[in-house]
């Protein structure tokens, strides 16, 4: 080719090549594609959970765009005159009436509405599972701490997106949800009442809130989510993806199929699978039947009124507060039944947000980590995670305390007291059990690496001795069991001025708590000594 005359070269080019050259000469995309397209993406099912969240978000965006064509975010009063008989002639807001029209009088409207809602639930659920994967494998460690913060912010934004969307139809359920929010805001000392009036444009419920939430729901929050998702993904490319330990996998490389063509094709197909699953669910299962709930009216409240699942933990926290925490002092009402849950949940959220920085500080570890931990190999972190999950799960379950009571024939008081115990004592129990289980699993791993699997084959030696033959691991499997790091508690050392600060003492005691109980990975020497032995 290089020797051919340049005048004839363009004629020999295929159309694809010509088009590529045309585009590249004008955009310089080649370098970008070369860089990104050859990026290796390690293959593991748990690495796709973030993609599930992303793809459900795309479904939310597409279906939501359709809904904006027909939804009218107005609280003006109208008499419903659509197809649904039990609401005919009932006075309601335009928002509610237009949602009913979407459900009953616009072709495909109910399907898209249900798909939007189911996809939103899946979006937040997938984020939750994705975060658990990141946490328990330590994938938030340097250099990914900031991406953890961005991801967690996305989780909070997704909850805000969900809640604003839940409130838009202006049906009884969403109005009850807003009434609780209003109550929580008013429970905040000093600024509460002012904030509530600011938000609702006067006394709750007012006539402004749906329009305001709509602006947040379709403009501000999606813009923030899209921007943060973009940064989140750029960081994934910049940091490269983590991978599990295995032969040939190091802190310096990433082993897996390249993005182009294999990975991109798989991910593209995966999007349509998720779209299909959501379409199937939306076509078969009712979600948020606003026609049952009817228009919002501050007087009725339905039994079984709950927020969508991702707000459940906050609702549960309010339900678990014992009676009598609200009292009058200095001529003011102090709603500790609201202040305490807000503080506790705020503290919990902050703790999750900054956990990567706390762990890095306790470890005093400034190295980069690209090999994901197996949860058992970080027993204290895994135990802390289990405690957090138990705490969250207790609050979450409390949001359905009434359903638990009716469906398991229990008393409401019994359910509440049991869940109070789960939320307060449960995390400690979960912590200790998980830590012991992790350490026991590590011991088992050591045993297997050193002595192999018990094969169940009993052999009689010439001397008359019976032994069970142990099957040694092959090297590939062994690698996965020995390639991890352990830390030892930090020593307290005087600083440059010869002083031991309080911070250092705290750090040392935390470090001791983290790493006092530990199982070291099998070393090469131990391995060789083990193999020279009796088998």
């Amino acid at each position: 080719m290089s020797t051919a005359p340049s005048a004839t070269a363009p004629q020999k080019r295929s159309f694809t090549a010509a088009a590529s050259v045309y585009v590249n000469e004008r955009t310089s995309l080649a370098g970008f594609v070369k860089e990104l397209g050859r990026k290796a993406f390690p293959d593991h099912w748990s690495f796709l959970l973030g993609e599930v969240a992303l793809f459900s978000f795309v479904v939310v965006l597409i279906s939501g765009t359709f809904l904006t064509f027909f939804f009218q975010a107005s609280m003006a009063e109208v008499h419903y005159n659509g197809s649904y008989v039990p609401l005919k002639g009932v006075e309601m807001s335009v928002a509610m009436a237009s949602t009913l029209d979407i459900s009953f009088d616009i072709r495909g409207g109910l399907f898209v509405r249900q798909m939007h809602h189911w996809a939103a639930l899946l979006f937040v659920a997938a984020i939750g599972l994705h975060m658990l994967r990141i946490f328990f494998t330590g994938a938030f460690r340097k250099p990914r701490e900031l991406n953890w913060v961005i991801g967690f912010t996305l989780f909070i934004l997704a909850m805000a997106e969900g809640f604003t969307g839940y409130s838009l139809p202006d049906d009884l359920l969403s109005g009850n949800g807003l009434a609780i929010i209003n109550g929580m805001i008013k429970g905040i000392p000093v600024v509460g009442t002012w904030t509530s009036f600011l938000l609702f444009g006067g006394e709750f419920p007012g006539t402004a809130i749906v329009g305001r939430l709509y602006t947040l729901h379709i403009l501000l929050l999606p813009a923030l989510v899209v921007a943060l998702v973009a940064i989140h993904l750029v960081f994934v490319v910049v940091h490269k993806h983590t991978q599990y330990a295995g032969p040939g996998k190091t802190q310096q490389n990433a082993v897996g199929p390249p993005i182009l063509p294999i990975y991109a094709a798989k991910a593209g197909g995966f999007f349509f699978i998720i779209f299909g699953v959501l379409a199937l669910i939306a076509s078969m299962f009712t979600i948020n039947p606003i026609w049952n709930y009817g228009p919002y009216d501050p007087s009725p409240v339905s039994a079984g009124t709950q927020p969508d699942w991702y707000i459940g933990f906050a609702d549960g926290a309010l339900r678990l507060v014992p009676p009598g925490w609200e009292f009058v002092w200095l001529d003011r009402t102090w709603s500790f039944n609201i202040i305490v849950p807000i503080l506790v949940l705020g503290g919990f959220i902050m703790a999750v947000l900054i956990y990567p920085f706390i762990e890095a500080w306790v470890k005093g570890d400034k190295r980069e980590h690209h090999i994901a931990d197996r949860p058992r190999n970080a027993p204290t972190r895994t135990a802390i995670g289990a405690a957090g999950v138990t705490f969250y799960a207790g609050l979450w379950a409390a949001a359905s305390s009434d359903i638990l009571a009716t469906h398991f024939s229990l008393t409401m008081e019994g359910v509440i007291h049991a869940l109070q115990a789960v939320v307060i004592i449960g995390p400690f129990i979960a912590y200790f059990i998980t830590k012991r289980v992790c350490i026991a699993l590590q011991k088992k791993d050591r045993e297997i690496v050193l002595h192999g699997y018990e094969s169940g084959r009993i052999v009689k030696l010439p001397g008359g001795e019976f032994i069970e033959v142990h099957q040694p691991l092959d090297e590939y499997d062994r690698w996965k069991l020995v390639d991890f790091e352990t830390y030892e508690p930090l020593m307290i050392r005087p600083n440059a001025r010869g002083k031991i600060t309080v911070g250092q003492r705290v750090r040392a005691s935390l470090s001791r708590w983290f790493f006092e109980d530990r199982i070291a990975p099998v070393t090469k020497g131990e391995l060789e000594a083990g193999h020279d032995g009796h088998h």
Binding site: V85, K88, W118
Partner: protein, 277 residues
């Protein structure tokens, strides 16, 4: 004679032997009991069939009331007292009216299976005629709410008005879709998904278990008819959105998306990242 008498004797002998053996058979008592029960039951059935025939002519006749009294004394008096005056274990039934009895006995809540926070619904112990006999007996003890007329309970009213009244007056315990809900201390508001119009009406006017009474000044008979119309609409028309998941609201929706939605998708992630063999 001899020739002929011998076989006869032998036959008699054998029959006597057989009969003696039959009388001593271990199942003889059982058979006798069964026979006795069949006769008594048959006679009773014939008798009560006769009563029903008469009761249809005049539901409040003295004979209906007498039959009701017998049933009452046999099945209810232990707790409610021999004259329905009430005891430590059951309230007085004087003045509760026919509607209360028709609801409580007709839905199987009474006779109660055990003392507890609330009498659960169970298959009715009495047939319709017996329930009516009991109801008219109790109604004869003092004036009270009557069993509603058919035009009030057949679902021919205004569903939209009924739905609004239901949301305002009933949904806080029974849930907007009538799926039921929890009350304190193990009590509960039962689901209304399979309750008949008559029983809904009777429950409103008599306030069974923990339910308040909605008398005719509170909710007029026409409004009660509208509420029943709405509930019948919900019973007869399935959700346009597909399976209702129990009409329990966001809890069942959340469980569904976590277990079936995310469960399915995680299974798919495992599938598409599986190593090819």
């Amino acid at each position: 004679m001899r020739q002929s008498s011998k076989p006869v004797n032998r036959k008699n002998h054998m029959t006597r032997q057989k009969r003696r053996a039959g009388r001593r058979h271990p199942l003889a008592t059982v058979a006798l009991l069964a026979l006795g029960l069949v006769f008594t039951g048959g006679a009773y059935a014939a008798l009560s069939a006769g009563t029903v025939a008469q009761a249809e002519d005049d539901p409040t006749s003295q004979q209906t009331i007498d039959e009701g009294e017998k049933l009452f004394q046999a099945n209810c008096a232990t707790c409610h007292g021999i004259d329905a005056q009430g005891t430590d274990t059951g309230p007085s039934l004087i003045g509760v009216g026919a509607a209360a009895v028709d609801f409580q006995v007709g839905t199987g809540r009474m006779p109660m299976q055990m003392q507890g926070p609330q009498a659960p619904q169970k298959p009715p112990q009495f047939n319709d005629e017996q329930v009516k006999q009991l109801a008219y007996y109790v109604a004869s003890l003092g004036p009270g709410p009557e069993i509603p007329a058919d035009h009030l309970v057949n679902g021919g009213g205004d569903a939209a008005n009924g739905a609004e009244l239901f949301r305002i007056n009933c949904a806080m315990c029974h849930n907007v879709a009538g799926a039921g809900g929890a009350l304190t201390e193990g009590k509960f508001a039962p689901p209304l998904t399979e309750v008949t119009g008559v029983h809904i009406y009777e429950a409103m006017v008599t306030g069974p278990q923990n339910m308040p009474v909605f008398n005719d000044l509170n909710i007029s008979p026409e409004d009660k008819r509208d509420i029943i119309t709405y509930l019948k609409y919900v019973q007869d028309n399935r959700s346009p959105g597909g399976f209702e998941l129990g009409s329990l609201g966001p809890v069942s929706e959340g469980l569904f998306i976590w277990i079936f939605g995310l469960g399915t998708i995680v299974a798919i992630t495992v599938w598409i990242t599986a190593k090819s063999n």
